[in-house]
């Protein structure tokens, strides 16, 4: 449907001088740059359709023992010396999370999306409870957790990998 056709249809439905005037204004507004912008906007909204690969499993399947070791190593490296500190722990937490994500991406398991979550809790005699549930493909998706404990705090890292084709 070209723009002129759309406008013709609209014109058929509209009655009265006022609507005619509005239509003329609309036609003037739709310059070439506007049309290209509209086209790109539509292209973005349309979901990209890929060709079939007929492959149901990833080539390089997620191996959780590798990820667990990596995550544990990163945690112990970064947190052995650190003491809990209100200000620095915030950036430490974010940087650990990004490092773990980068390391997991480097392991290069194909067709996986990752979610990495890191918790740092100060030890002050309080109780804390962490629970997770998920709705996913039990055969292909999995999760890994790593813990690091020091005198002043406890750090917990969760890595969840979801298969995506």
């Amino acid at each position: 449907f070209s723009l002129t056709e759309v406008l013709a249809v609209v014109r058929k439905w509209s009655k009265g001088l006022e609507s005619q005037q509005n239509l003329n204004v609309v036609k003037e507004c739709f310059s070439d740059s506007m049309k290209t912008k509209l086209l790109s906007f539509k292209a973005n909204r349309v979901k990209i359709r890929y060709a079939n690969t007929y492959r149901l499993e990833p080539h390089n399947k997620f191996r959780d023992y590798l990820v667990r070791d990596k995550a544990q190593a990163i945690l112990t490296n970064k947190l052995q010396q650190a003491k809990y500190d209100g200000v620095s722990s915030r950036s430490l937490c974010a940087s650990i999370s990004e490092e773990i994500l980068k390391a997991v991406k480097e392991l290069d398991f194909d067709r996986y999306k990752y979610v990495v979550s890191v918790l740092i809790v100060e030890k002050a005699g309080q109780a804390i409870n962490v629970a997770s549930r998920w709705v996913w493909d039990a055969q292909r998706d999995t999760w890994v957790s790593a813990k690091c404990e020091t005198e002043t705090f406890i750090a917990l890292a969760l890595v969840m990998a979801c298969y995506y084709e």
Binding site: F1, V6, K42, R45, V46, K47, Y84, G86, S89, R90, L92, C93, A94, I96, S97, E98, I100, L101, V104, K105, K113, Y114, V115, V116, S117, V118, L119, I120, V121, E122, K123, A124, G125, Q126, A127, I128, N129, V130, A131, S132, R133, W134, V135, W136, D137, D141, L158, M160, C162, Y164
Partner: protein, 113 residues
Amino acid sequence: MDDFQSGDETSFVVDEVSSIIKEAIESAIGGNAYQHSKVNQWTTSVVEQTLSQLTKLGKPFKYIVTCVIMQKNGAGLHTASSCFWDNSSDGTCTVRWENKTMYCIVSAFGLAI
């Protein structure tokens, strides 16, 4: 063929999810004070309720819901998460809730299939 037809809603709607989470927290731990024996039950019920409501939305998504309940003791808690996914279709929503005796933090991640 209608050019300006909007496709079906397959993107993560943060407001909807956040209201679902708030409802689940309120109904599970609403007016209760921290009780060590019950915390386990509370975390699982918050998470299970959230998850069941999310799946009822009927969208083609995989969900991950994490709940942390901590007693108020002046201690600090930091949480960070990073994700490797498709920004246009996937999203996350985190809700922080507290009462006089405890903090509750619920994060929900939705990944498009």
